[in-house]
Every structure is written in structure tokens, then in C-alpha cells.
């Protein structure tokens, strides 16, 4: 046996497990993609065969996961700096950057082709555009060059319900774009609240978050402005084809709580926030998770009620 053959059979110290490759797909983000795409698919006014619907959601999720892998490939350098992302497979040394790139590209191609075959070409093309938008426009171009990165990145995360709708109907209408607006306008207050109490992370990585470039006072004002815009669109959706009394009730309560939180964040100064370890900001961040989940849950409830002859106006 030669030295070369011994080396070839010896596994490297950073041998990755299956879970490490799965972690590249950002499973938590994928769960949001699955849920919002499912709501988009079920709220659409076209019946979908259960297996076709399952495949549509699965391949939209795989496309979202592929974007995550490509994002981790590109952002490996800043992921190493930030506490929150240091344990990811690439900065932790368990997976090579090249592997993440190849996995991301392979899954992107697979998900787009399979979604087009399972549903329609329009849905496949829109998924391809979403992956391109998230990886090239957001991750490669704007994330490190503008403090509006979160606003633009939010668009990529807001596309899944639109793709779900197109997968079911093969066409576009106002309702999926209202669902898009819901996630799109929700993203900035959600992430800026996080940036307020995780500031050293983004500072250390040199990512131009609004807190760094325009100051924390401006960030608090921006959170309030986006929350007001979000309230207008989310309440407006109650009177569209995806809305109804259940949605209106849920949305009214959540928007009141969310606006109250944004108002309180706007009124606080840094000393007060640091004194209670950003209690209001942390509470607002947690509420934001519930806000999006319950809004889409209410849209889903309206769709289910409609199938029983109830729901809607």
C-alpha cells in the first residue's frame, strides 16, 4: 500500500455530515417560504391536485434552500465575523465554499425545472427570477453597498406566495401582490429591530445597516414609517379577494399592537434601551414573527372557510 492510497482513504478532519449540507439550505428561512407559498397556492381561486400542490411547495422550498446555499457561499467571509452566523457549516469549517456553490447551483436548476414541469413554465421562470434576485441583486450587489439592503432583500423573501399563486393559476392578479406587500413591508421593521439590539454583529462585519450609516435615531423613525405603511397594506388586503371578517379581525388587533410597539421604539433613547437591555425592541421583534405568521394564517383560514361556502365578504 502506498502513502498516496493511505491518504486517499483517510477522511479529512472536516468531513461534513448530511445535516451540515441541510443546514446550508437555511431550514428556518425555508419554513417561512413553505408556509407563505402554501398560503399563496391555497388562496388562489383554482383547484390544485394534492400531489401537484405538494410538488409545487416542495420545489419552491428547494429553490429557497438553493438561494440560502448560494448566499452562504458568497457571504462566508462576513459569516465568520458575526456571532449569529459563526456556527454555520462554512465558517465552522465543516463544508467547503465550493461545495456550497455546487449544491446551490444544482438545486437551483433542479427546483426551477421541476416546478415548471409540475405546474407551469411561468411559475418556474418566476422561481428562477427569485433565486437570481436574492443571490445576485441582494447578496452579491446590494447587501454590502446600501443601507436599504434589508428593504430590497425583503422582496426576495416576499415572492414565494406569488409563486404559489402562479403555480395554481398560471396567471397573476392583485391578491398575490398584496401578500407580497405584506412580507415586503414587514421585513424592514423586523430586521431593523434586530439590528438595534444585535448592533455589534453588523458593525463588526461591515454590513451597511441603517443603524450604522444613518444612526440609531433614524432607524427608529424608519421602523415607525414602515410599520405605518405595513398597516395600510395589511388592512387593505382585508377588503380584497383574500380577505374577510376573520382576516380583518386578526389584522386589526396585530396592527394595533405592532403600531404601538413601533411608536414606543420611536420614542425611546439609547440610554433607556440599554437600561432595560432593549426590552421593547426585543418584544417588537418577537411580535413581528407572530404578526407575519398570523396574517398568513388568517388568509389560509379565509381560503379554507371559502371552500365550505363561508369566509370572504
Amino acid at each position: 500500500m502506498t502513502d498516496a492510497s493511505i491518504n486517499a482513504s483517510t477522511p479529512r478532519e472536516t468531513e461534513a455530515g448530511f445535516g451540515d449540507y441541510f443546514a446550508l439550505l437555511k431550514p428556518r428561512v425555508m419554513s417561512l417560504v413553505v408556509f407563505t407559498a402554501l398560503v399563496g397556492l391555497l388562496a388562489a381561486p383554482a383547484p390544485v391536485h394534492p400531489i401537484v400542490g405538494f410538488c409545487a411547495i416542495l420545489f419552491i422550498a428547494v429553490g429557497g434552500g438553493a438561494s440560502g446555499a448560494l448566499n452562504m457561499w458568497w457571504d462566508a467571509d462576513i459569516d465568520q465575523v458575526m456571532k449569529r452566523t459563526r456556527g454555520r457549516p462554512i465558517p465552522a469549517g465543516r463544508v467547503d465554499r465550493g461545495e456550497a456553490l455546487h449544491l446551490g447551483l444544482a438545486l437551483s436548476g433542479l427546483s426551477v425545472i421541476m416546478l415548471a414541469l409540475a405546474t407551469n413554465i411561468f411559475a418556474g421562470a418566476f422561481l428562477a427570477f427569485t433565486i437570481f434576485f436574492y443571490v445576485v441583486i441582494y447578496t452579491m450587489w446590494l447587501k454590502r453597498s446600501t443601507p436599504q439592503n434589508i428593504v430590497i432583500g425583503g422582496a426576495a423573501g416576499a415572492f414565494p406566495p406569488v409563486i404559489g399563486w402562479i403555480a395554481a393559476t398560471g396567471s397573476m392578479s392583485v391578491e398575490p401582490w398584496l401578500m407580497f406587500a405584506l412580507t415586503f413591508l414587514w421585513t424592514p421593521p423586523h430586521f431593523w429591530a434586530l439590528a438595534l439590539f444585535m448592533r455589534s454583529d453588523y458593525d463588526d462585519a461591515g454590513v451597511p445597516m441603517l443603524t450604522v450609516t444613518h444612526g440609531r435615531r433614524a432607524t427608529r423613525t424608519h421602523i415607525l414609517v414602515y410599520t405605518v405603511l405595513l398597516a395600510v397594506f395589511s388592512l387593505g388586503a382585508a377588503f380584497s379577494g383574500i380577505g374577510g371578517p376573520v382576516y380583518l379581525t386578526v389584522s386589526a388587533v396585530l396592527n394595533l399592537l405592532f403600531l404601538r410597539g413601533a411608536w414606543r421604539i420611536r420614542g425611546r433613547d439609547e440610554a433607556a434601551s440599554e437600561a432595560d437591555n432593549f426590552k421593547i425592541e426585543r418584544g417588537f421583534f418577537k411580535l413581528s414573527l407572530l404578526y407575519l405568521f398570523l396574517h398568513f394564517g388568517a388568509i389560509l383560514a379565509e381560503a379554507v372557510l371559502k371552500s365550505y361556502g363561508l369566509g370572504g365578504w
Binding site: 477522511p11 461534513a16 448530511f18 391536485h49 400531489i51 401537484v52 414541469l117
Partner: protein, 59 residues
């Protein structure tokens, strides 16, 4: 006693291979299920084929 004791890394590699195998098997099952669903829905019929079979002038 085995001449090549199983290293922890070999176990991890086996787990990875098993995972990939299961994913591929699931993918085959999904494509099969999707094909059955589409055939049942008539997605693969030529336009007008159904009306022709019913005595229409389709085609």
C-alpha cells in the same frame, strides 16, 4: 476484530451517503407520483384528442 476499525468520520460519511440515498429514493417516488397525477388529469393528451375519441371532429 476488524483490521480497519470504523472511525467516527466513517460513520458520518455513511450517514451522509444514507441521507443522499434516501433523498434520491424520495425524488424518484415524487416524480412517479407526479407523473401518475398528471396522466390521470389528462395533462399529456394531445389537444382535441378527447373530443376526437367522443366522435367530435377534433385535431
Amino acid at each position: 476484530m476488524s483490521l480497519r476499525p470504523t472511525h467516527e468520520l466513517h460513520r458520518r460519511r455513511f450517514g451522509r451517503n444514507l441521507g443522499v440515498g434516501l433523498v434520491l429514493a424520495a425524488f424518484v417516488a415524487i416524480v412517479f407520483g407526479l407523473t401518475v397525477a398528471k396522466v390521470q388529469r389528462g395533462d399529456f393528451e394531445r389537444p382535441g384528442a378527447s373530443s376526437a375519441s367522443q366522435g367530435g371532429s377534433g385535431g
